[in-house]
């Protein structure tokens, strides 16, 4: 969905990281969800790339 389409829509935001950013959005009644983020594969980067390969192969 191109930028010009974004400008016509209601923002619905997925926030990943600092929770204060999510809280600021909610305080303005912006639709948002906070991701309970953890590094992929628990921070094990070899596993993360293996998982990445799996997704592409499907």
């Amino acid at each position: 969905m191109a930028v010009k389409d974004l400008f016509k829509q209601e923002l619905k935001i997925i926030n990943m990281g600092l929770e204060s950013f999510y809280k600021d959005l909610r305080s303005q009644n912006v639709s948002a969800v906070q991701v309970d983020w953890k590094p992929k594969a628990g921070g094990n980067t070899k596993m993360a790339s293996l998982l990445g390969k799996l997704k592409k192969n499907q």
């Binding site: 209601e10 935001i13 997925i14 990943m16 990281g17 969800v33 991701v35």
Partner: protein, 519 residues
């Protein structure tokens, strides 16, 4: 010692049970804890571990038990039971009790129609998350820094291909569809569109144009490195094109540190062919080249805002320079300020939380007198070690060296508070600060500054000295912090509050000139 706690006919959900097990085993003196439902096999395990107690007799599968092996000199069953009780009553609190999905994909399931991902995870994981977001067709606001330039290029190319925004890495400010993202102010809606590579510079321009009666259509961030040779201005270009195509936008403003020459040329080319007027603030950039492109160069963030508003209103575009006060009044203020100082007070100290505001200060003041800085105008004026360095100093406290393991000073004033104490001394004449309001910022940055200045006045007062403090507030009356009371708090401490960073910098300069040269 081995003891048990039991609750008959008790149903605790699994997450609570897990929490209980985990937290109780962490308690000092606890060797082993089993917490669960008293099914036959679970009790068999307890027996196997030789942790059976009489209380477990006669329990059934719907009864809850905790069996603990612990050192009775360090803890007691009562302590364990108390902790268990606390854990039961202390609900695992997410920010507003809302579900927090564990991944982007589950978040997409949870918020159908999501159109933007705002990412501020640690740099080394950020690229993978951005990739997934772009693959899912989301626009991206990337606050994280420490993303490699190769990843930035690859991801921006992907974004451009898909017609998506990728604002960042290291993008602190954007306002899309009127929604402030990360560090941004609440600004009235209007017809000026901004593409900014510099966070607090964008905040200053947008709050200034609000003060001047203008309004915003969109503010697109690009991240600090977008206009480098390697990235080639990918997002700035996409942003400009989007604003040209946007029916709401009538005037376009670009904000960045000077781009690499080839990138600057690309931008001039677009500006030249733009049907809408373009104001270009390349913070000290090539004014002639900008004019040749049919665009409007700027002297400061305040000037950029004024030019945009003038263009919007169809008024004559003027350079906004100097200080917005009649000269006699200005001289009176300067004289009064200097009169409070003793002859041996000759140092200038600038303590900034906003990076590009600090840049603006350095550009101007550095021409006037030599200033040591962590963002120096020339290498020999770099600050290597701050202890024992005297003379004129201007610091960007948001730079990496000051934010290792600490929150950014816009979020937490503590870092700057420490510098007020350590670096304002009996030789300090003028102190210059910024106060940045808006979303993302601390709840009362003005209050923190006012308290520090009160402390300074008291401390220096004991040796019969005073200092001159100059400040500006980057904010609007719509911001979550109260602009009016912020101004009042600063003024109550005898701080000279100027209407813009540019004017605050010029006033500081005029005062320093008087101090140093008597003029």
């Amino acid at each position: 010692m081995i003891k048990s706690v039991i609750r008959k006919n008790a149903y605790y959900d699994s997450v609570t049970l897990m929490l209980i097990s985990r937290e109780l085993s962490k308690m000092p003196g606890v060797e082993e804890v089993l917490a669960g439902m008293a099914t036959e096999l679970n009790l068999e395990l307890v027996e196997n571990l030789k942790m059976v107690t009489p209380e477990l007799d006669g329990l059934g599968p719907n009864d809850f038990f905790i069996s603990a092996k612990f050192d009775e000199t360090q803890t007691s069953i009562e302590a364990l039971e108390k902790k268990f009780f606390e854990l039961l009553n202390d609900k695992k609190s997410h920010s507003d009790g809302q579900y927090q999905p564990p991944t982007l994909s589950s978040a997409l399931n949870h918020l159908p129609g999501a159109n933007l991902a705002q990412i501020s995870v640690p740099g080394k994981y950020a690229a993978a998350e951005v990739e997934d977001a772009l693959d899912a067709g989301l626009h991206v606001m990337l606050f994280s820094d420490n993303v490699s330039i190769e990843d930035e290029l690859r991801l921006k190319q992907k974004a451009v291909e898909k017609g998506l925004l990728m604002m960042g890495p290291d993008c602190g400010t954007a306002i899309i569809n009127g929604v402030p993202l990360c560090f941004a102010n609440a600004i009235r809606h209007g017809k000026i569109g901004v593409v900014g590579a510099s966070g607090t510079g964008t905040q200053e321009v947008t709050t200034q144009l609000h003060k001047m009666g203008g309004g915003l259509s969109q503010v697109i961030g690009t991240g600090g490195r977008d206009l480098s040779e390697a990235i080639g201005g990918l997002m700035m270009i996409q942003g400009i094109e989007a604003l040209i195509a946007d029916p709401e936008t009538e005037v376009i403003v670009l904000i960045s540190k000077p781009p690499s020459p080839s990138v600057a040329d690309k931008i001039y080319a677009i500006a030249k062919s733009s049907p809408k007027p373009v104001v270009i603030d390349f913070i000290g950039g090539n004014a002639e080249a900008i004019r040749a492109a049919g665009a409007y160069p700027c002297l400061s963030f305040e000037d950029a805002a004024a030019k945009a508003v003038a263009l919007l209103k169809g008024e004559k575009v003027k350079d906004i320079d100097g200080i917005n006060l009649p000269e006699t009044e200005l001289e009176a203020i300067i004289d009064k300020a200097v009169a409070t100082l003793k002859p041996d007070q000759t140092d200038f100290l600038g303590l900034y939380t906003g990076g590009t505001l600090a840049d603006e200060a350095m550009k101007y003041l550095g021409e006037s007198f030599p200033i040591y800085s962590n963002i120096p105008l020339s290498p020999e004026m770099a600050i290597e070690h701050l202890e024992g360095v005297h003379g004129n100093i201007c610091l960007d406290l948001g730079e990496d060296q000051f934010t290792q393991g600490r929150p950014h000073p816009m979020i937490d004033p503590q870092t700057r508070t420490e510098f007020f104490v350590s670096h304002v001394d009996e030789k300090t004449a003028v102190l210059l600060v910024d106060v940045v309001l808006g979303y993302g910022s601390h709840e009362d940055p003005a209050g923190a500054v006012a308290d520090s200045v009160a402390e300074i006045r008291q401390r220096l007062g004991k040796v019969g000295k005073q200092i001159v403090v100059v400040a500006s507030i980057t904010g609007t009356e719509l911001d979550p912090q109260d602009l009016a009371s912020s101004t009042r708090k600063l003024e109550e401490q005898g701080i000279l509050v100027m209407p813009s960073n540019a004017q605050a910098v010029r006033l500081a300069d005029r005062i320093m000139q008087k101090v140093l040269k008597g003029v």
